[in-house]
Amino acid sequence: MSNIVEAEGLTKLYGEKVTAVDNISFTVKDGEVFGFLGPNGAGKSTTIKMLTTLASITSGKASVAGFDVVKDPSAVRRSIGIVPQELTADDELKGTENLVLAARLHHVSGSEIRAKSKEMLKLFDLEDASERRVRTYSGGMRRRLQMAMGLVHSPKILFLDEPTLGLDIQTRTKVWQYIHLLNKEHGLTVFMTTHYLEEADGLCDRIAIIDHGIIKVSDTPSRLKEQFGGEVLTLTISGDEDLTDFLRTVPDVGDVTLVGRVFKLKVTKTENALPVIIEGVTRRGLKVTDISSSRPKLDDVFLEVTGRSMRGGEGGGESWVQNMNMGRSTS
């Protein structure tokens, strides 16, 4: 499988002091769904801005669909589709008109525009609403139209920025189905950012976790979870005492994180660790009020890699479009 995105030593500095992206290298294979995960300000949006020719590159190089993003930005733009987090479909235009506009701006030939628009309306179940103005659309319909607009010119790779942020669970599931369909049945390469780790886990062939402008890990979700190793023990303990130091001394316990009153422990052998933990807690006059054990999830990998919970960033999802608009130096 050839690489459709290649980034080598990609760096972005804003001014002299802010390093938004710090010498990252990665590839995206043709036909895969690649998830780019990271907390707010990690550098994922800046990376996407550079790959989609919206931001200049300080150093390093990148190519998309075989074209250098600096030397041949027009060819890159012809090859990509973008579904930004913002709903940029025009409220005063009808669904069809928005699609035709998107097709014309991507130079789809006159004879193909209508056919491609119809195909997209059908694919995203918008045929009945095609002659209605977008301001009458629900949030889910707008999101679907946005995806249709990103695909109407048959791009080689689709960049999705937080495709399901703010959507209800039914609509979110529907969007996942579309992404899956586009990838598996139409062979489309998808590069997506998301704050929902279960979304990345379920959809992505490979993911990269970026933090402070540096890619911390990159692999398939299953391999990342395997590398995490062992199990995750989740304990709720009465009282306000921080037992992190004690828990770290327990045999077979690796990392310990405290979220609220819930301790999350990376444990290699639960049967060895648990009696010691309960004994230690009881000795301190406290009680374990809740306990559960699970196989590691992507959330646990993320937490270990970044030291932060992705949940903390939920709802405050950044967007490369927004960042570009505000001219901020964060990513």
């Binding site: 020719t53 919206l54 200049s56 940029t88 005063e92 008109e97 506009l101 014309r104 927004q322 608009n325």
Partner: protein, 289 residues
């Protein structure tokens, strides 16, 4: 491809505009308001006293004074609104051009501009469609203002022999001014990040531009420093040229024709210069940062 991109973007803007009559109405009322308000409150002929230190001129004498006043200071206009109409249209053009940039700032804020920038379209099409959509919107207001001025009592009285060529000359003049001003404000709108900044700059720029011109007042009586500014102000050139045609119709003397030609030449030079500068500024504003 420039043409395709340009027409696609301009078509989008005009569709939105036509479907939103609320956006047109303020311009219509602005035209009516300025013509009626300025046409009456600033009308110098209504200030001619009927008592000159005990001397009471007859109605015929008052009419003569009025004619002389308009002839000496107001380009020989038959009525004050005949003098004022060209200036009011310029005022409406400039104000609406400035605020027309709000749509472009909104496009930036809601992400549409970045959608355009990530599409394989010419950057020139973004700039020129912004310029032209503004002109088309504003010219319709200019036409409405022209019609209102004609309908108003004591309103615009066109010179005898005013024909289709004169009409085209008047609106050609307005188009020249509109193109130049639109280039300035479109480049500005593509460069600023917020509507507040745009409004502040537009207000700061348009008031001095309008009031330091011959759009609303004749040059007579103005201080020398203001005359110097007024002389190089493109709004003065457009007002004077359009006014000359409106008042004199097809009967321009060679002196008037010469003045008209100089005003138009000045406007062409201004428009070419700001088109080049505006495009360069817009290209810089749209370049990846």
């Amino acid at each position: 491809m420039l043409g395709n991109d340009f027409f696609a973007l301009t078509g989008r803007a005009l569709r939105k505009w036509i479907r939103n009559p609320a956006a047109v109405m303020p311009g219509f009322f602005m035209a009516l308001f300025f013509l009626v308000l300025f046409g009456n409150s600033l009308n110098p002929t209504s200030l001619i006293p009927t008592n000159f230190g005990g001397f009471h001129p007859t109605a015929a004498q008052l009419a003569m004074i009025k004619i002389d006043l308009l002839a000496q200071y107001f380009s020989s206009a038959p009525t004050y609104i005949s003098f004022l109409t060209a200036g009011i249209i310029c005022l409406i053009l400039v104000f609406n051009m400035g605020f027309g940039g709000i749509d472009l700032v909104l496009d930036r804020q809601n992400g549409f501009l970045n959608t355009l920038l990530s599409a394989p379209i010419s950057r020139a099409s973004i700039f020129f469609s912004g310029v032209v959509q503004n002109i088309l919107k504003v010219l319709s207001l200019a036409f409405i203002t022209f019609i209102i001025a004609l309908i108003l009592p004591n309103g615009l009285e066109l010179g005898s022999g005013f024909g289709i060529l004169d009409f085209l000359g008047v609106f050609g003049t307005f188009i020249l001014l509109a193109f130049g001003i639109s280039c300035v404000f479109t480049a500005l709108a593509l460069s600023v990040k917020s509507i507040d900044s745009l409004i502040a700059i537009v207000n700061f720029a348009t008031f001095p531009l309008i009031f330091a011109s011959t759009a609303l007042f004749p040059q007579a009586g103005s201080p020398i420093w203001l005359l110097d500014i007024s002389d190089v102000n493109p709004i003065s050139k457009a007002s004077d040229a359009a006014r000359l045609l409106m008042i004199n119709g097809g009967n321009l003397t060679s002196t008037q024709l010469n003045a008209f030609g100089l005003d138009i030449a000045y406007l062409v030079a201004f428009t070419v210069a700001v088109t080049v500068l505006g495009y360069l500024a817009a290209r810089k504003a749209l370049a990846p940062k």
